[in-house]
Symmetry: C3
Subunit: 160 residues, 3 copies
């Protein structure tokens, strides 16, 4: 596997970890003293939302700050159009992202309505922006040492 | 072309075959005795939807079980964030997917309404989940020998 | 970086240039005498929408024909499931695309409503189809010499 694909697969595992609310899997993608910053990117003007330090803290935030999926619910954090630059043992990745919120319908006790066909549920894009992680090769594996999230939308944090 | 990209392009041709309702093109991506399984992935609990055996049967199902596109209609089966592992002449791929249903508007006899601008139609995400094909290299070409579809939504089959 | 990824990254920079309305960045991806054609792909029957010649003209069209983003607005041109074929110093790329229009909500003067949580805005898929660029290696860099856009929807151009 070449370096660019190895770097891309770190992001593929990142989105799996988010969607599975898997803190341990997320932490494992970062170096111990990693920093993650998020911004509301208001027409090119960045407003800082949050900064987290440390792989364990970043991993916990995934499960601790994000609501669990409701019954028949799921999410897909999808990324697109990667620009990857590898320079020795460091690399940068710039990806577009779109988050889809999934809600499957519950089968009515009397069965699906006449005429119902195909997948029963709703799929709603709820967040988008850019992921811009910087990675370092450690013992042969790529890990994120600095992560930037640029969100297109203003964000209301829980309790905010 | 390296193995990982060759594997990814099998999936790229798979989604083209689905969207074009092209049974022959789909069959050609599978080995003769391939198996395809689909599940409703209800919050991590799998409920089996269907199992098909044989490249020809799998290919036919694409055109036979799926409704043809309506006038000015199309679909895009899109895949994201591939995790690919190649081990000699076998490979696994894990991809997120989102299916978009496209319906273009018909131009009114009196012309588009005043103020209309841009693309005229609707784009609706209707299905999502994970594709998890396993591939084997046969005479230098990668083909799927076992395919798993994990659907996020419960499914109502035609006539069901 | 292998040729296929280098080709894919040209398209990644293309969508960045569109979303940033950056004519100079777009022009730089094309050879001087490049041709770009767009079609409404009506159920497989192509109706020509436009043809542009020259890298500068193509780049200007991005900024000149596309409306600027409104306040708190953005777009994401996303591409999927690339099929790339490299033959010496020429290459073809076939990609699905979906364009998302982003509109962030404005924070009300009295603050976000009680119960608001997460990203505040709407994300709407507005265009889709296929990008089919043909590229040539020039002085070691891949550039587009012929670009085809197949749009799923009929298009109303500004003033049309």
């Amino acid at each position: 596997m070449d370096d660019e694909r190895a770097v891309a697969q770190v992001l593929a595992r990142y989105v799996r970890a988010v969607d599975h609310r898997d803190s341990a899997a997320m932490s494992a993608l970062f170096v111990a003293d990693a920093v993650a910053e998020s911004y509301y990117n208001n027409g090119g003007t960045r407003e800082k939302l949050a900064e987290l330090t440390g792989a364990e803290t970043i991993g916990k935030a995934v499960a601790g700050l994000m609501a669990p999926h409701p019954p028949r619910g799921w999410s897909h954090h999808t990324t697109h159009d990667h620009i990857i630059e590898v320079d020795g043992d460091e690399a940068t990745l710039d990806a577009q992202f779109v988050v889809f919120s999934i809600q499957g319908h519950e089968r009515p006790a009397e069965g699906w309505p006449v005429g119902a066909s195909g997948a029963q549920g709703t799929i709603t894009p709820i967040e988008s922006g850019y992921y811009q992680p910087r990675l370092r090769r450690v013992d042969g594996a790529w890990r994120i040492f600095h992560h930037t999230i640029l969100l297109d939308q203003p964000l209301v944090l829980p309790g905010g």
